[in-house]
Symmetry: C2
Subunit: 465 residues, 2 copies
């Protein structure tokens, strides 16, 4: 088909959708613009229409129309992804899940819930709180659960509770042909057939649309304590993390903020943390176990010269600490207004973490660009936020070559280019570096499940347009 | 092709394999017979040849030959599966993995290992012991790790450590076209592309052959204590389990043996456990935490009338206890020599466990057949071992209808027909009951990855011959 024919086909599909769903379909330019971007600085590309979906059945109907007329489909959660996942590279229909935010069932006795995919992490936790339950996976952003499933998200609590992957029991998914499937059951384990739950988790909307999720939740711990610990060098801070993990101290969060990150946090969140390479740590469990963990950690940190280990035990102080941590992307940007940024996401075996971070810091310092290092270091996962001047193309090139060297370093150490952000449009080349042998099999699956390539096209694979 | 043409094609492939691999290929009738069966009483069907593989590259070469001549391929580990997974329903080449049993790397600092798929669970643990590490997943049988990956196995320790699925980092897999792929990296988490590691896990050799595995291992706990606790009714025993899990007491194993099972164990293992509905429990962790767990559990069990809570702390007694438990299949058979058996494997949300087990026990009692109930009840997973007289076809029918009712009961309660044994040939109908909507997607994947249907044909899907 030529461009004109494609445009006519698309318009037919949108007309049918408008006839069917009336004001649930929007072509308002502002809405289109906001649905073609995420929180990164990847170039936004708006869809042709946005569908504010209200039920699985409605989405299935819409998918059938899109399939007939080859209109691409891009599921949209809270717009917080970081690798261009939401850009409509060939236009198409953005399916906004925000109205599908119901809690369908809370099974307290089994510690599992059934939710619609458009509910946000914070809304789910607000719903669970008075039942003594919580959903631990916490990427910082107030993303939707569907978005977390799509990108295989994790965040600060993964070192104790695992990523979104470990919480999943079953998914309701709409396939590229508009069929509705259920991938699992509520049982804690199963050996029945192919594990489609985990195939769809991390597939970034390229194989189907997740509309409902059954997932494990956890009991709110009896006691939580969070605190900070400062070090005279990056190496000492990271070695403290490595020893903590290797000794099996069951930290629930252990986050690294380098000196620059602490400066950014102070400026943005009006905190007064001394500017040093710092660990933010959280322990949880029974009263006795938290005390035990604090003592073991403090002793261990002091061996690496960790000073000013201070722990807060009231929820307000703990929340303030993690809020400051979670604002770091915005905080780093605020250090140099007008700059754009790239954010990186390597994850490596923990034994190589110190070497990888120190080489990365040195490379950053030598580049002349401004960048902070922060991370879920307990998992071996860290991010750099590298600022560049959008008016100076050479700076973007330098930032990208820093990232490329870091990814190569991580892969050489047995690691991955992305611990939790996903591939999107931004890391497609890195996927080839990292999993070249496996890509043909991924591609066979994509081709089999989405032969017309209408499900979030242009993501994950370099050369499927 | 007609039968004669198929036979000629097969013979050509086997001739080529013999030319290539000489004495690594066996057509000895005894060897063929032993490779066409598992530990169940599903009717054995021998392959046409057995290949004692020694390297990934050799298997890839063999697969290419098989693909060219449409010779089916059945990977063979230790022969301990229970659902007819190893039967050569269309003949073919059994690939015996037992010579591929090397430990390739132990990364102590990252607590992960790289192994060949033919290593057994016990050999792996023997290798790890002096490093203070262990691999926890324990299905009882001394299966190979490749077999565990293929059937998504778990066992007694899953309540604390998760199943084989949760331990996997990456797999080396040979595809149906003989290509060698690596599905992941050594990093603890990754969001890079489709999760092929977990797609191949549980695919029962129908999508490819796993030849190497990177997996997490764990530190040997400082302290382990195991013991038994007896109850006056099945219901009280199961309710103790439910409360233990719901209260979050971190048991490492909690196994139910009903009265019949205890009688069987005593007869077979020369133990003298009083005949009662009994829990076998294990706690592990620090000295203080184990003491704490024992106290909490004992208090809780006593609320349900649990008596004679006794804990052993020396490794010999603990081993004897678990050895007795793991012999239960043989022990139950020994109660009635000459009988065949079927073993069942439902897994349900824990809140429904008491109801499901009690209804199942009543159904068993009413059937006139002899059957024991045993299980990894902390996961909601239990087995019945139902004996029948092979000379009386009506008994097999009764046993199968008991199983069908149990599976229906489990599915109605939100559970699965198989917690850990897999589908094989024996549960293909149940897969349809349980995941009907998802089977077309599983089938698309099978068709895409194995278009000639040479990878362990006749398993998982009812109507792919």
């Amino acid at each position: 088909m030529n461009f004109l024919e494609i445009t006519i086909q698309k318009q037919k599909a949108i007309n049918l959708l408008v006839n069917k769903f009336a004001e649930q379909i929007s072509c308002n330019p502002g809405i289109l613009e906001s649905h073609g971007r995420d929180e990164s600085t990847h170039i936004p590309m708006p869809p042709d229409a946005v569908f504010f979906a209200q039920s699985t059945e409605d989405i299935a109907t819409a998918v059938k129309i899109c399939a007939e007329y080859n209109l691409p489909i891009i599921p949209y959660g809270a717009g917080t992804s970081l690798e261009g996942h939401l850009t409509a590279v060939h236009g198409g229909l953005s399916i906004d899940m925000s109205r599908m935010n119901r809690v369908i069932a809370v099974n307290e006795n089994d510690m599992d819930v059934r939710i619609e995919a458009g509910i946000t992490r914070k809304d789910l936790n607000a719903h669970l709180r008075d039942k003594g339950l919580f959903f631990p996976v916490d990427p910082g952003a107030n993303c939707t659960l569907g978005g977390m499933v799509a990108t295989r998200a994790s965040g600060t609590n993964a070192v104790k509770y695992g990523t979104i992957r470990e919480q999943l029991l079953s998914l309701k998914v709409i396939t590229a042909s508009g069929d509705i499937i259920e991938t699992g059951t509520r049982s804690k384990k199963s050996a029945a057939g192919y594990d489609l739950t985990h195939l769809f988790c991390g597939s970034e909307g390229t194989l189907g649309i997740v509309t409902e999720i059954s997932l494990k939740v956890h009991g709110i711990p009896e006691k939580v304590a969070a605190g900070i610990c400062r070090f005279t060098s990056l190496e000492k801070a990271v070695n403290t993390v490595i020893s903590t993990i290797q000794m099996g101290i069951p930290v629930s969060r252990i986050e690294l903020l380098d000196t620059l990150s602490v400066r950014a946090v102070n400026g943005y969140s009006k905190t007064e943390y001394p500017e040093a390479n710092t660990l933010f740590i959280e322990f949880s469990g029974s009263e006795a176990s938290v005390q035990d963990q604090i003592e073991n950690f403090t002793m261990l940190a002091s061996e690496y010269g960790g000073t000013h280990v201070e722990f807060a035990e009231n929820q307000e102080d703990i929340n303030a600490l993690w809020h400051a941590r979670h604002q770091l992307l915005y905080a780093t940007r605020a250090l140099s207004p007008g700059k754009n940024f790239i954010t990186t996401d390597v994850c490596i075996p923990i034994s190589s973490l110190a070497e990888c971070i120190i080489k990365t810091r040195a490379d950053l310092d030598a580049s002349g660009l401004f960048g902070s290092i922060v991370g879920h270091v307990g998992d071996g996962n860290f991010h750099t936020i590298i600022l560049y001047d959008p008016a100076k193309p050479a700076e973007l090139e330098i930032a990208e070559s820093l990232n490329r060297r870091m990814v190569r370093r991580a892969i050489d150490m047995g690691g991955t280019s992305t611990g939790e952000h996903g591939i999107g449009t931004g890391k497609r080349e890195f996927l080839v570096w990292e999993r070249e042998s496996a890509i043909p099999v991924m591609r066979m699956i994509k081709q089999a499940l989405d032969p017309k390539n209408i499900m979030n096209p242009g993501k994950i694979f370099l050369d499927i347009a």
